[in-house]
């Protein structure tokens, strides 16, 4: 195969290259900063994200192009998701800053690893080749393992990191095994070629289906859907809250991209098979996630189970197999990442040095301590429960509409039933905030920029619920 390198390929991946270079620069610069001037590192990261956003915006939203002999796909879908990831990452870094400083964890490596994780996710978002998808996942995973264990003296964090690492390795192995089966039957790694060849092969071939099952294990693990979800609660609880914030928000966007790239772009020929599998996974996730969340006393753990149920909901949109379904799932993903960002952000805001807000009881009487942020948390909880007019309601509605459109009314009913069950534990948080006496009366800390962005975050969730058309239209547009 003759290969011609075209320099324009480098322009296509300019945002990735920029992030990589800046991560390396920050790594060096950070060496020369003492702890008091660590904020420079944080600032540099924000500049990096801004630069990447500008690059993506300027280069993006054109026609779909491929680069690096079909390994890289550059389309509007990816551009939107990348910009969303920059925004969420910027917020994550900002929310984490004070929390880390209070715990003597404000190290340059936190931000650098965060940027590398972001790079891995960007690679996943615009991957058009099984190998590249796998490498993107691994880059993200490796950064996450290190981030979870970041607080080295914390035993639970170390335990969580260990579990995450081993289970993640198993999932990666499964994923790779599945990919090898697909490669074995089609003889190619490229998504478009696999898609074309699988259609020729017909549906009675068991090998690609088995390959799909193994790939599904990998996807299921990365998204955290039942029964590949066991790591989620332990890691959410064990990791420092700032890392939980990272894991709970940005990788969900990448996970959605992974599903789209692997199932929709690469394996459309097996749509009947993965649809069936996704139904099983979605129902199990919504059931286990919502039911077990009720029994939790730790709010980080509760939110972990809530994540599981939300990922189940997200799969509903994907499994519909229609453009409307995909766009509603995309909307759901973006809204969910904002909700996760906001709710963990408030937990970070409530934490002080020497105290981590992570039990449900810590939420008691938040309204007395800060009515405004109790209101923000209220928006988040209502939105997660799917109460109008929050964005979460519209996200759920559109996903359900997509499921009903393909005739799976029973599935929609099941989803609604489990949402009702789920509403219980979200409302419990609200009850604790508004109707219980606070355990301690100290007002909430947090620097002005964090409070401002967090407020913006909450209002955005509310605003997107009232005016969903813009984002929904964008999702539809980039997917059709």
């Amino acid at each position: 195969m003759a290969y011609v390198f075209s320099p324009s390929d480098l322009v296509q991946v300019a945002p990735e290259i920029f992030i990589l270079s800046m991560a390396c620069v920050i790594l060096i610069v950070d060496l020369f900063l003492d702890d008091r001037r660590r904020y420079v590192t944080h600032l540099l990261c924000q500049v990096t994200l801004l630069g990447a956003a500008v690059l993506t915006y300027m280069l993006g939203f054109g026609e779909t192009t491929m680069a690096f002999s079909g390994a890289y796909i550059h389309d509007a879908f990816g551009d939107v998701l990348k910009i969303a990831m920059y925004v969420v990452t910027a917020a994550v870094f900002l929310y984490s800053r004070d929390y880390l400083k209070d715990r003597n964890l404000l190290k340059g490596e936190y931000f650098v690893l965060g940027l590398f994780g972001l790079l891995g996710m960007m690679i996943m978002v615009s991957a058009a080749n099984l190998l590249v998808i796998y490498l993107g996942i691994e880059l993200l995973a490796l950064s996450l393992y290190a981030l979870v264990a970041f607080d080295r003296d914390n035993k639970t964090a170390a335990e969580a990191a260990m579990k995450y690492f081993v289970l993640g390795a198993i999932a990666s192995g499964m994923l790779l095994y599945g990919m090898s089966m697909i490669y074995g039957t089609t003889g190619t790694l490229s998504s478009t070629e696999i898609a074309a060849r699988l259609v020729d092969l017909g549906s009675d071939d068991l090998v690609p289906i088995f390959g799909l099952v193994f790939i599904m294990v990998g996807i299921g693990f990365k998204l955290g859907v039942v029964p590949f979800h066991m790591w989620v609660p332990d890691i959410y609880q064990g990791a420092p809250t700032s890392v939980t914030l990272y894991i709970g928000s940005i990788p969900k966007i990448a996970g959605f991209a992974l599903v789209m790239r692997l199932l929709v772009d690469t394996l459309p020929g097996l749509v009947v098979d993965w649809q069936a599998m996704l139904i099983i996974l979605a129902v199990l996730s919504m059931a286990i996630g919502n039911i077990v969340a009720i029994a939790q006393t730790n709010i980080k753990r509760m939110l972990a189970y809530s994540t599981i149920s939300h990922m189940g909901f997200l799969l509903l949109g994907v499994l519909s197999g229609t453009t409307e379904g995909y766009s509603s799932a995309m909307f759901y993903t973006l809204v969910y990442s904002m909700m996760a960002l906001g709710s963990f952000g408030i937990l970070l805001l409530m934490s002080r040095s020497g105290f981590d807000a992570e039990m449900l009881d810590d939420m008691k009487g938040l309204n007395r301590r800060s009515p405004w942020f109790a209101g923000m948390m209220l928006i988040m909880m209502f939105s997660m429960a799917g109460v109008p007019p929050m964005a979460g309601f519209y996200a759920k509605l559109s996903v359900l509409a997509a499921v009903v459109d393909i005739g799976l009314v029973w599935l929609a009913i099941v989803a609604v039933l489990f949402s009702v069950i789920g509403a219980f534990y979200y409302l419990r948080v609200i009850k604790l905030m508004y109707f219980d006496e606070p355990v301690d009366d100290s007002p909430l800390g947090g620097s002005a920029d964090v409070r401002f962005v967090l407020s913006l975050n909450g209002l955005a969730v509310l605003g997107l619920g009232i005016f969903p058309a813009g984002l929904m239209g964008l999702c539809l547009q980039v997917l059709s």
Partner: protein, 650 residues
């Protein structure tokens, strides 16, 4: 112009939010300034719009501002339809609202809920503007419900009073009945027309005339008739038509400024506005028009009669509002939509004036509202006296005053109408003129003339109200006096509503009357000869005789006609019937469902039962999360195995 429309609607909302959420921050003065500026800006922009649309004759604006969502091809949108009807309505709404805002500074100035009050009335203005500027049914319904909500909040503004809570609950529930009909009507439209946009629906209306609908199996109803009657039920609730009128007199529990703004000038006319807006629909069903006509006529006459026996100054005005709303409804039923809207406009001015004047009296009387304790206020409150006189003369339709033109037009239109029930309605509205004059001047004489019946303490403190109270009175007195004379030619007999209000050729009573139209002055001279004038004079004379010259007579008459008075004082028993049978019955059923259905079956068995089950399952499943890594890995393998097996045996 789109930005003008947006700013017009949003300015009061901004004021409401500022006063409502940041009221403590900006203080009392800040609150009234921010809302007055918002509504003032709105009024100024309304004038700009009026000039643009009506005077400059610009194109009708009909566009979507924001698409909320699209579902199954049905678009849910926020959009504006700005034509001459809208322009008229927004001018009236914002003008009266502005006056009431200013007046409130004086009226509420000692009230602890000052900021809250300003926030509410600014919010009301926003909701009302959304309602009248809408170009689709969804937004109409939004505005409809929003004004209802603010009305509820304001009636119960003094929430420590049990009567206020009772009244706002009553208003809410009665309106719910109307809104239910309204919603059903909108639903039928959506189901049959497949659109919520006015113009799309109106365009299809003529093709739907022959459609029928089966409500009960085996009985075919005309679809348009059903839709129109359902919509009109909504209007009956909001515009307080018999038998859904019962909430309006009780709504007087709210502060007087909102009685003027919401329960006299604007909100209660929403039903009238809505029917006029829907004229292309109503014109397709003569049955519906007939229903409208008869209901309106009954309201106008019966409610006027009740006004005669009321002793609370605000309630008298409230019953007169009911009666006047009946007149407007009669105009709609007679297909004289323009006359209805015209009366709506003149009524908005003089009724707001009367209410605010009543408020001024109430301030003077230290919040004593019983007219039996008043009398001779003329010399203490001259401005209030003269403006009240203008309002009262306008109300009874004294030739030359604005009410004369609109009311006479309605009576004439009813006379000329051929819709079934029009002759019945004609008799009632004619008799209503006499009644109107009687109760209006009864109150006027009792309040301002005759013996001073108040206690000494009150008398010592009697004086004219402050500037912020009397200036709105003066500003409202001007249109009450002259607006009818100035505009009747254009609005009723000109081309003002061309293309906006649709009247079928065989219903066009105003077109018929236009043949005899020789200008407003001629109408006055002609009016002096006509029976309504003499009836009004008769009412005035009766009132003067009974309450000025022979004040002992009313008591004797009352004894003689005890049975009628009792009926009137019981308001025909609507309230008793509602409370005893409807409310009581509902509570009985509710109690039954609550005790047996809800507590035992749903709560006990289903809710708590399922909650317990879920909790139990939750605690079991939780055990699976052991924290052991190999258990987790094993679960993954089991999942893999399960999926594989499923595909193998499938």
């Amino acid at each position: 112009m789109e930005s003008v429309y947006l700013a017009l609607v949003l300015a009061p909302l901004v004021g409401a939010i500022a006063a409502g959420l940041f009221g403590k921050l900006i203080g009392r003065t800040g609150s009234h300034w921010v809302t007055i500026l918002g509504v003032g800006a709105s009024f100024a922009l309304s004038l700009v719009v009026f000039k643009h649309i009506v005077l400059d004759g610009a194109e009708v604006y009909n566009a979507t501002v924001y698409t909320w969502m699209v579902s199954e091809g049905i678009r849910f949108e926020v959009g504006f339809l700005v034509d001459s009807l809208t322009a008229l309505m927004i001018c009236v709404v914002t003008f009266v609202s502005l006056m009431v805002h200013i007046y409130t500074i004086g009226y509420m100035h000692e009230d602890p809920g000052y900021q809250r009050f300003f926030s509410y009335i600014a919010l009301f203005t926003f909701a009302m503007l959304m309602l009248v500027m809408s170009n689709n049914f969804l937004q109409l319904f939004f505005g409809w419900e929003a004004v209802g909500l603010v009305s509820y909040l304001l009636i119960g503004f003094w929430y420590e009073r049990d009567t206020a809570i009772f009244a706002n609950m009553k208003a809410f529930l009665v309106n719910r009945i109307g809104d239910f009909g309204f919603l059903l009507g909108i639903g039928l439209i959506l189901a049959n027309f497949g659109s919520l946009d006015y113009h799309e629906v109106f365009a299809q209306a003529p093709t739907m005339v022959t459609e029928s609908i089966e409500i009960l199996p085996g009985s075919a109803w005309s679809l348009m008739t059903v839709i129109c009657i359902l919509l009109f039920i909504g209007a009956m609730g909001k515009s307080a038509q018999v038998p859904l009128h019962v909430w309006l007199p009780d709504s007087m529990e709210g502060p007087t400024p909102i009685s003027a703004l919401i329960h006299a000038a604007t909100m209660v006319t929403a039903g009238i506005f809505m029917v006029a807006r829907m004229s292309p629909l109503f014109e397709t069903s003569e049955t519906a028009l007939s229903v409208v006509l008869v209901i309106g006529a009954l309201t106008s006459f019966l409610m006027g009669l009740v006004g005669i026996v009321q002793n609370d100054i605000k309630r008298v005005v409230a019953y007169s509002t009911l009666s006047q709303l009946g007149y407007m409804t009669v105009a709609l039923g007679a297909s004289a939509y323009a006359a209805g809207i015209f009366h709506l406009m003149t009524h908005a001015f003089f009724k707001a004036l009367l209410f605010l004047a009543a408020g001024s009296v109430i301030i003077g009387m230290h919040h004593d509202q019983d007219i039996r304790n008043m009398g001779g206020l003329k010399k203490y409150m001259p401005i209030t006296y003269w403006t009240s006189l203008i309002g009262t003369l306008a109300l009874i339709g004294f030739p030359g005053f604005s009410g004369f033109f609109s009311k006479d037009a309605i009576i004439e239109a009813t006379h000329a109408s051929s819709i079934p029930g029009s002759s019945f309605a004609y008799v009632l509205v004619l008799a209503g003129v006499f009644v109107t004059a009687l109760y209006s001047f009864r109150m006027f004489f009792l309040v301002f003339h005759g013996k001073e019946r108040m206690d000494d303490h009150t008398r010592e403190h009697l004086h004219e109200s402050s500037g912020v109270v009397v200036w709105p009175l003066i500003l409202l007195a001007i249109p009450s006096l002259g607006i009818g004379y100035l505009t009747i030619g254009d609005v009723l007999f000109g081309d003002y509503f061309d293309g906006v209000i649709h009247v079928a050729a065989n219903h066009d009573v105003l077109g018929h009357l236009a043949g005899d139209w020789h200008g407003a002055t001629a109408m006055i001279t002609h009016g002096i000869m006509a029976p309504p004038f003499w009836l009004a004079m008769g009412g005035l004379a009766t009132a003067a005789y009974l309450y000025l010259m022979r004040p002992e007579l009313p008591g004797k008459i009352k004894d003689r006609l005890q049975i009628f008075v009792t009926i009137l004082e019981n308001k025909y028993g609507f309230d008793d019937f509602n409370q005893k049978y409807i409310a009581g019955g509902c509570r009985g059923i509710g109690n039954l469902l609550w005790k047996v259905g809800d507590e035992k079956l749903i709560d006990g068995l289903m809710v708590n039962g399922s909650a317990r089950t879920v909790g139990w399952v939750s605690s079991i499943v939780r055990q699976v999360q052991t924290g052991m890594m190999y258990h987790y890995a094993f679960a993954m393998i089991l999942g893999l195995l399960g999926l594989l097996t499923w595909f193998v045996i499938r």
